[in-house]
Amino acid sequence: MKIDPLLDRLRRRALAPFLTDSIAARLFWLSAGWLVLALVATAFLLTELYSHALDTSLSQTLDFYGETLISHLLDTGDPTSDQVFIADPRFQRSASGWYWDITDGTGQVVNLSSSLTGSLLPAITTPFDSDGHRTAALTDEFGVRIRMVERQVTVRGKPFHIAVTGSLDEIFRLAGDFRGQTFTVLGAVGVMLAIMSFIVARIALRPIGKLSVAIEKVREGEASTVEGNFPPELAPLAEEVNELLRSNTQIIERARNQVGNLAHGLKTPLAVLRNEAAGSRTRLGEVVLSETTKMTQLVAGYLDKARISARTAVVGRKADPTIVMLRLSRVMQKLNPNREVVFARPDASLPWFRGEEGDLEEMAGNLLDNACKWSAGKVTVSMMAERTEATTQLLIRIEDDGPGLTTQEADKVLQRGVRLDEKTPGSGLGLDIVKELVDVYGGTLQLKRSNLGGLLAELRLPSARLGRN
């Protein structure tokens, strides 16, 4: 009982493509339809040919028996003689369909087979041909269908008609049996061919499934182009899809560049307006100042958004975190010469970051910047691999000896757009972009208390296997 629904589901899943308006269904039903038609026609044709052959053979047998009777008649010269007979025992059983009789010129029966005793043969209405021969399929008095062959002969000047019949029912029975066998065999062949065409349809359509999987990968961001070998019918389609993707990417790239140029271009005039307004104590100055502040935030916000939404195809990208962190530490050390930026260089077995190098720079750079901003003198950076059963994550720890954050403050900071200290310069978006990027990569950011006394930022990011793209 339990297995039934399972089987049912399996069957439905396997057959589903063949119950819908799919290409597989069309291929299958079309070929299966033609197959059934052809097989049925073949069966009928074969049966017809077979029964025709049997009928022909019966006619020949009857001809032979007719000849036998004629030769007996010629031998004896007496049509009523006992010497005129056919040895075949079927002519002795009544209602067997096997009969013969000899009629004279007046139509009087002068001799007949014992099977015909007490009854009469039906008459053929068609005329004799030039050889004095005619034949027809008829039904006797017992309802048996018979083939009758009638000959016209003249013996010693007297005309006689010699008619011999054989049972057609036997032939029909044989033909019926044959038809049955033919249908059985061809039916089996048909089922096999249907299974074949089912399989063929599936195999033939497999590349389509492969193509759709490849396209899905592109959509999911796991691949940048449709990859794989496709048959000549599908290869142009795959190529077209790739072309479309390429031109799409170009259009997006161009649009994004324009947005970027616009946003960056706005920054200088915004700076000018803001500085000018900051110097003036008028109402106009105040309005310009507050509005330009909003515009600045908008510009920065949309630039970040554009940056994040640009992350559509990060597949296959990886970056060496050691190089990135070395570079950032060097830059931060130069920018903050009165701080000590200590980078604990990890060993070479550290996994790489799976993603864009620029994004890693953005995340780690902003955290490092914050650490330097708040630190009293020392900032340390360390990295390690964090292995769980399922995955290996890259853990970047950035800590400082500054004031740090309480748990509540840390929670607040991790919310969007929140800044704790409005006086410390910065747009307040530094941590926002970190949070957004961490989300994009499915990583985590935790803010804790450092052993140095200040803040410890723990950034966990997906890792790439070493030496693999």
């Binding site: 005039p269 000018v272 830059v331 920018l335 953005e362 310069p425």
Partner: protein, 219 residues
Amino acid sequence: MRVLVVEDDTNLNRQIKEALTEGGYAVDVAFDGEEGHFLGDTEPYDAVVLDIGLPQMDGLSVLEEWRRAAKTMPVLLLTARDRWSDKVQGIDAGADDYLAKPFHMEELLARIRALVRRAAGHASNEITAGPVRLDVKAGKVTVDGQSVKLTSHELRLLSYLMHHKGKVVSRTELTEHLYDQDFDRDSNTIEVFVGRLRKKLPEDCIQTVRGLGYQILED
């Protein structure tokens, strides 16, 4: 202290110049990369504000040229592009600090002060020489805790000597670093200002090194 501002936006250039002048700096300006490069190459500056996006020659190239020619003055890069890769690029080209547009003018002043201070080897905003204490940020001078009123020229002169305390500073060097290039340089004025400063400060604060220049002694 003499600062070069290289910025192609005329308004922003003017604003920065005004702010820096108000902050007690002698300011030269350039509006394109080539002009900026030439000035930085030939004049002695204590700091440079350099925009990255410049006509003729971009800021990074200007900076690289200077560093190649062993010009070591601190450079603050101004840029609209604030990605970390841009910052790394700027710092690697030889910049000492980096400021993204739009910025607060106080921020720019603070960065320039810090750069000048760092270049002279001072860690804090306050420089002391004996009883004389200079608050670089506020532009205030005290002697034994008593506030001393100085004119902007006097302050500039004292500030330069304090930044380079322990070093003998020639009159030419003072002239070069205290006035912008358009100023009519007459070395007598330096002597006049030194004389006025000496009256307001303890007698032995500024020493004359005969034939060489002036010096504020290390503590």
